[in-house]
Each structure stands twice: as C-alpha cells, then as structure tokens.
C-alpha cells in the first residue's frame, strides 16, 4: 500500500489543483507520516516567485492548505485504526487557513513542510505546520479542516 496520503483520495475528489493526483497542471503534492509528523516536500517551479530569488507567498499558503487537509484525512484513519486503503474514504476541505510569513523563502531549493495534528473533534481537524527551506523555518500556518460531506465522495 502506498504511504502517500493523496494516493488514497477517491477518484472523484482527486482533481484538486494543490493535491489531486489527477490534476495534470496542478502541484500534485505528496504527504507521508514520519512518526507523529506529516511531511510534504516540494520544489517550486521557476514561475512560482514573489520577486527574483524568493518564493511566492500564495504558493506557500497553497502548500500548507493541502498539506493540512491531507494530514487531517490521514489522522482520521489513524484515529480509527484503519489503513488508508480501506472504506469509507476520508477527504477534508479547508474551513480556515492562517499563514504567518516569518522570513523570505528562497527559490531553487526543495521545501519541507512538517505538520502536527493539534485537535480532532467530530468532523473537524486542526493541523499546525511549519515550512522549512534549507533547514530554516520561513512560514508557519494553521489549517482548520472539515470532513467533506459523504455526498461528494460517492462514486
């Protein structure tokens, strides 16, 4: 079984620009567990700049967003003691997003986002995440993710 969270999104909800494996023009981020932390690694494209040398903040917000919804889904499987390839599938959407830009993020290096589940309550999961470039934390964020209605997930 793939360890990548996004590989288990149901086909009809796997088109997201940020994390859908079926969106050919999208970012197609991939997230895995490393212990209790969820980790996404991503190399921005040359056009993803804010100004020469630095990564665009909207892209960084997008990475945190999809990292958060992916972590939320994986956390629900963990809480239920189920593998990610079992039914029913979990898929989350973002209710709110907060992003603090701590320092400029350099272009040309692989970025690493590390997340932690802060809270699981009912259909809601709160994920905190920090983005690092060359070992330095440059962005910190929090995603409040909410489980998608089952009606979206039925084939």
């Amino acid at each position: 079984m793939s360890q990548v969270f996004q590989d288990h999104y149901p086909e009809n909800v796997a088109h997201c620009y940020g994390c859908g494996r079926l969106n050919e023009l999208g970012l197609q981020i991939r997230t895995v567990w490393e212990g209790d932390e969820s980790v996404t690694r991503f190399l921005p494209r040359p056009e993803h700049l804010a100004m020469p040398g630095y990564v665009y903040g909207g892209l960084l917000a997008s990475l945190l967003d999809c990292h958060g919804t992916g972590t939320a889904a994986a956390a629900m499987y963990r809480q239920e003691g189920r593998a990610m390839d079992t039914e029913p599938a979990f898929r989350f959407v973002t209710a709110s997003l907060r992003v603090d830009y701590l320092a400029p993020t350099p272009m040309g290096v692989e970025l690493e986002i590390r997340g932690r589940v802060k809270l699981i309550k009912g259909r809601r999961v709160v994920v905190e995440a920090t983005l690092h470039a060359q070992g330095k934390a440059t962005v910190r964020g929090e995603v409040v993710a909410v489980q998608m209605p089952e009606s979206f997930l039925s084939p």
Copy 2:
C-alpha cells in the same frame, strides 16, 4: 495614467506569480479603486479546481494575498496624496494572511474581491477583503502587509 495598481509596480518587483504583470505564467491580477473599496476581478482557469465544479482554496488565498498587498500600496499613495506613477514607489509583502472559507466557490464565473483598508500604521497596512461569486460572499480574509525594504526597490 493607468488606474490599475499593479501597472505601477517597479519592474524589478513586478514578477510576482500572483500579481506581477511581467510573470507570463502567473495570475496577473489587476486591482482598481471603486470609491473606498479596492476591487479585483478574476476568472479562474479550468485547472484551478478543488473538486469538479468548485474553485481551489489555495487559489482563493492567493487572490486575497495579492489583492491585499496591492491595496496596501495604493492606500499609501492615497494617504500621501500622491499619484501611483510618482516616486518613490510603494511595494508591499505579506506578513500574515487569514482566510475563512464561508461556502464553496463555483467554477466558471468571474470572481470579485472587494477590499477595505482597516489600518495604516507606519510601514504596516491591514486589508480586509471579501470574495464574491455571482453576488454571494464565499471567502473572507485579512492580509497584514508590510512595506518592502527600499533596497529591493532600487533599480
């Protein structure tokens, strides 16, 4: 003189993926004043989806982000009673971003973001904005923008 805020960004800081007129692959958003409100209109591309029929939240965050930094720059010109084509230029970066997703945003329609300046204090401007689709508010956000150091703006 162009009324579009982003037309007056200095060339060396006009490459932003969200709002740089010189980023050929970027979103190239354009923002104008309508009275005391700043307004950006944008039609998402077909790939900018969250799931079929709905716009990707990361794109919506990106639109609010650049709408906010553009509004911050324009507000500083206004406060100084200067036209946007006068020197020295103003250009802002995002310190923090908060986005609340109120309802799904439909694909296939032009989105309208309307912003207001909440606070100007020193080099910091806080902009509140609401995004509408077909007249319905679907996203609300707040951008804390900070004036870019002059060293970035010199040619």
